[in-house]
Symmetry: C2
Subunit: 352 residues, 2 copies
Amino acid sequence: MGGDRGPAVVVAGLSKSAAQFPDVDFLLHGNETELRTYLARHADLNGRVRIVHAERVVTMSDKPSQVMRHGEGTSMWSTIDSIKDGHAQAAVSCGNTGALMAVSMIRLRKIKGVNRPAIACLWPSRSPGGFNVMLDVGAGIEAEAEDLLQFATMGASYARNGLALSQPRVGLLNVGTEEHKGRAELKVAHDRIAAAADVGGFDFVGFVEGGDIPSGRVDVIVTDGFTGNIALKTGEGTAKLISDFMREAFNAGLLSKFAALLALNSLKRLQRRIDPRRVNGGVFLGLNGTVVKSHGSADETGVAAAIGLAIKLARSGFVERLAARIASTGQTGQDLGKEGATSTAQGDGKNE
Amino acid sequence: MGGDRGPAVVVAGLSKSAAQFPDVDFLLHGNETELRTYLARHADLNGRVRIVHAERVVTMSDKPSQVMRHGEGTSMWSTIDSIKDGHAQAAVSCGNTGALMAVSMIRLRKIKGVNRPAIACLWPSRSPGGFNVMLDVGAGIEAEAEDLLQFATMGASYARNGLALSQPRVGLLNVGTEEHKGRAELKVAHDRIAAAADVGGFDFVGFVEGGDIPSGRVDVIVTDGFTGNIALKTGEGTAKLISDFMREAFNAGLLSKFAALLALNSLKRLQRRIDPRRVNGGVFLGLNGTVVKSHGSADETGVAAAIGLAIKLARSGFVERLAARIASTGQTGQDLGKEGATSTAQGDGKNE
């Protein structure tokens, strides 16, 4: 029921996904009467969607703390509960991010050993797969060294299962790549992540800068939720500015318009590579369940991308693999914390 | 002597500036023998440049703290001292940013009332003038509420003198525009900046997000040096990624290349609007002297832009105006801090 464009777009996105994944069934949470109207337009969804009626809706302006206390009976709450109750294997929402995280936290609970969940996004990049992972982009607004270590582990796990990278390269976001730069907690996190790389199944490339986020030298960028959210929105805003300027440039006169026509294929090829709809879907990491947050302004292509991502992660058994990885690195982290020793533990041999 | 491309490019940029500003003379700090070689190629600079010999050079990898203690005799130190001694009215350097800030701090000292200097950058935007100001982008790595208030005052002053905006619109960078969002110090800063807007001669638009940095709804974006630096480099990295992808798209096949030829004017028009060289120059704010940091990788066009910015600010009497503004808002800030009262003081009537 959430999102800036309302449920009609969600149902249209659902229809796109249903065509792509013929063996997946869907639960659609919200006002039954309203949803029936939209479903009626999509005969292809007949028999594949079950409506779970919910009386109330979480709005974009509701405070997360309020929704956490009084959110029962909303479509968001019902969606998360369907994972908790085992009726669904993954959840997708276009609604209020803070509220979705709050409801997910209290209904699904954190994975044992996780202190702070994170939201991971995909970023168009020069890496061979075309995308990098960045986290946290907004679950919290701060992170201690221990949290950043867990983000590294969780982000690497996501990259393995979501991007099929067997040994992801992890970088820690800072204002310079030299080891003496940045805040104190980053220096501590730097050393702990380096020590945990073996057990975590990733390579640690050290500090990376803002300019490296879309680069090919790293697959997973680790940062706190405040910085990550600012970076994500700055990147989106810059891309939007350039594409607007590009449109204006190609509309300035007859020759430009003619050139644009000829260049249509090139421009489309470019558009595909940086299309934000293709990378739609912030994944909640560290919870006992797969929750994907679609951008509030997503159109049906964006919604379908978020649903596809949720399906992919659910099928890979991602949450169980992540929990196992957290359990093993958590042990290393504790050893380090207590004894200040450099870990010599090796990977656990699982292909997670 | 600094910068990634060495002094030849600096001298070439100087030559460009000299043509643009026929009534300005220059002091060139560094190794006299080496600099003479480069100057010999530019007959136009005859009689307009005086070399100030410096034996040593600060490298890009030197630690700021070391340079601060042992930097005497370097070209960087000599450059800053030429402002201190009144031989120059503004300084430009392509060198090590941290070292430049450290040397500027101890040689020029902070303006009375300023707790933390800041580096301000220009950002291509949808604002009528085509640029927004953002600060701090890397002088420090953190900022208290009081510092953010001073950044607002200094950024507004810079926008008035550098962008000719009589009443700049100031926004505070956060992860959401709602007042309950973000870190505790941001909420305090929000209220203090709002209360100081009248005296500071700016309009406060409240919290802004990363996506607003290139927008037309704000002229000055205030944030701490860590976040600002990440945002700046993320924006630059994203713009670079898109322009690389664009080049690849237009090189993929004969028709695309032909289209690119036809679209050349449009592409050039686009390039001009987002050309990072046009906005080259991080201005140090809060010091008793005008120091402009050019990007280390700047070419001659970039160097000339940084020199032009320094000349413009020196001519406007910017440092004196800023000092006056800090004195009046500092008073307001203290009142607020001590009595928790909302300021009712009005502007000081000066046209700063």
